[in-house]
């Protein structure tokens, strides 16, 4: 017995997945850029900056993403900011995951042995050059597996924007269920699409991890 409802609506779900990927891509770019900057500041910055960053990470760790999405949805109109839904979603998710990304990059930078810093300084390299040719290339390699993992979490988190009415895969799923009254089929299909995206990422992440063990 074939899942008729799912087959008929699969293309509609895939269109939703397109938006999921768009939303994810934008958020990944924003959170990664933010993450690198925050990580560098967290490692090298003056004490007041570092304290601020610790507060930022503390807040993100303890507050559910949904609360912040609600904040955007309910609060911003009062301040007079009128964001496009997709941009708003990318902004909130990007800022949220910026904290996680910064922890990933910071961990990678700090995992480099002090001796690498010694060697670079001993050769007369200055701060910026050190970061550029010695620290960052190595840190990015180390950060790759947890980075991919965090991207995966981010993509799953995009499903939350359906709760504030943004249209993407999960929302497309809900709409389809309301129309077809076949929740098991449709949500299984939605889960399948998410699974395909996330499983590929998870596999790639595991591959990266194996490669790292070989090199170091």
């Amino acid at each position: 017995m074939l899942p008729q409802a799912l087959i008929h609506n699969f293309v509609y779900l895939l269109r939703g997945a397109e938006f999921t990927l768009l939303l994810s891509a934008g958020s990944i770019v924003l959170s990664s850029a933010l993450g690198v900057v925050v990580a560098v500041l967290h490692v090298f910055g003056p004490l007041p900056v570092r304290i601020l960053i610790e507060i930022y990470v503390f807040l993100v760790r303890g507050i559910p993403l949904l609360i912040l999405l609600f904040a955007m949805y309910y609060m911003l109109p009062y301040i007079g900011i009128d964001l496009e839904p997709m941009s708003g979603g990318i902004l909130v998710i990007g800022l949220y995951y910026g904290a996680f990304m910064s922890q990933v990059f910071r961990g990678a930078i700090l995992s480099l042995p002090k001796s690498q810093w010694d060697a670079a300084r001993g050769l007369g390299m200055r701060w910026l050059l050190m970061l550029q040719i010695v620290i960052f290339p190595q840190a990015f390699r180390i950060a790759a597996p947890p980075f991919v993992n965090t991207c995966m979490q981010l993509i799953k988190s995009t499903s939350l924007v359906s709760i504030i009415g943004l249209w993407e895969l999960t929302m497309a799923g809900r709409e389809t269920v309301e129309r077809t009254l076949a929740p098991f089929q449709i949500f299984a299909g939605v889960a399948l699409i998410y699974f395909c995206i996330c499983f590929s990422l998870a596999t790639y992440g595991r591959y990266l991890e194996k490669r790292m063990q070989y090199v170091h």
């Binding site: 559910p64 609600f70 949805y73 839904p85 709760i163 996330c198």
Partner: protein, 230 residues
Amino acid sequence: MLASEAVPADAQMPFDINFIIRNLPLFGKGLVVTVELSLLAIIAAMIWGLVVAIGRMSQHRALRALAASYIEIVRDTPVLVQMYFIYFGFSMAGFGMTGFASGLLALSLQNGGYIAEIYRAGIESISIKQLEGGKALGMSRWDVMSIVILPQALVRVIPPLANQFIVIIKDTSLVSAIAVAELTQIGKLLMERSAASYEVILTLAVLYLMLTGIVSAMSRLAERQFAIYH
């Protein structure tokens, strides 16, 4: 689609602490539900996670594969979709699960998978040499497990477990989408009815920070306690 279409453009925004005070009982009710759901989900996930972990580390290849596939499926799909699947699926099938039950089931299934991996990592991180050392002394596999490996694994497992508990607490906010009157849902209702969105968000944030903060503090305390035994 955004709230800006539903809300008058000239609404005021002074900070009204009385609003919070007036609605404390309501927040309290939501908080209780959140705490209930979190605790039940944590306990269920820890137990289910143990079951899955045993399967994951068993001697039988089929069992290991089954457990591994389960973990992979549950980790690569969003928990919200799992909740929808259970809630809408079962109510349509006439089996009528409440939002609370659906949320609890979904949270337990998902986090059970994550926690199974945490258990596994903890046990596997204790060097294989300890297992060999115990066997050389004439201990059975089970003895070595319980006396040598598990106590050490326990310490290593506390930080990632605490982290997962925090994830569970944060994910309870999702059941607001399936009509459970927990903290976030209460907040959402209040924001829809009034203009006090800032106050509500702040209160929600503080309350969640309290909950997750308690878990973090307890985890640090537990770590310190175990460190004494080393």
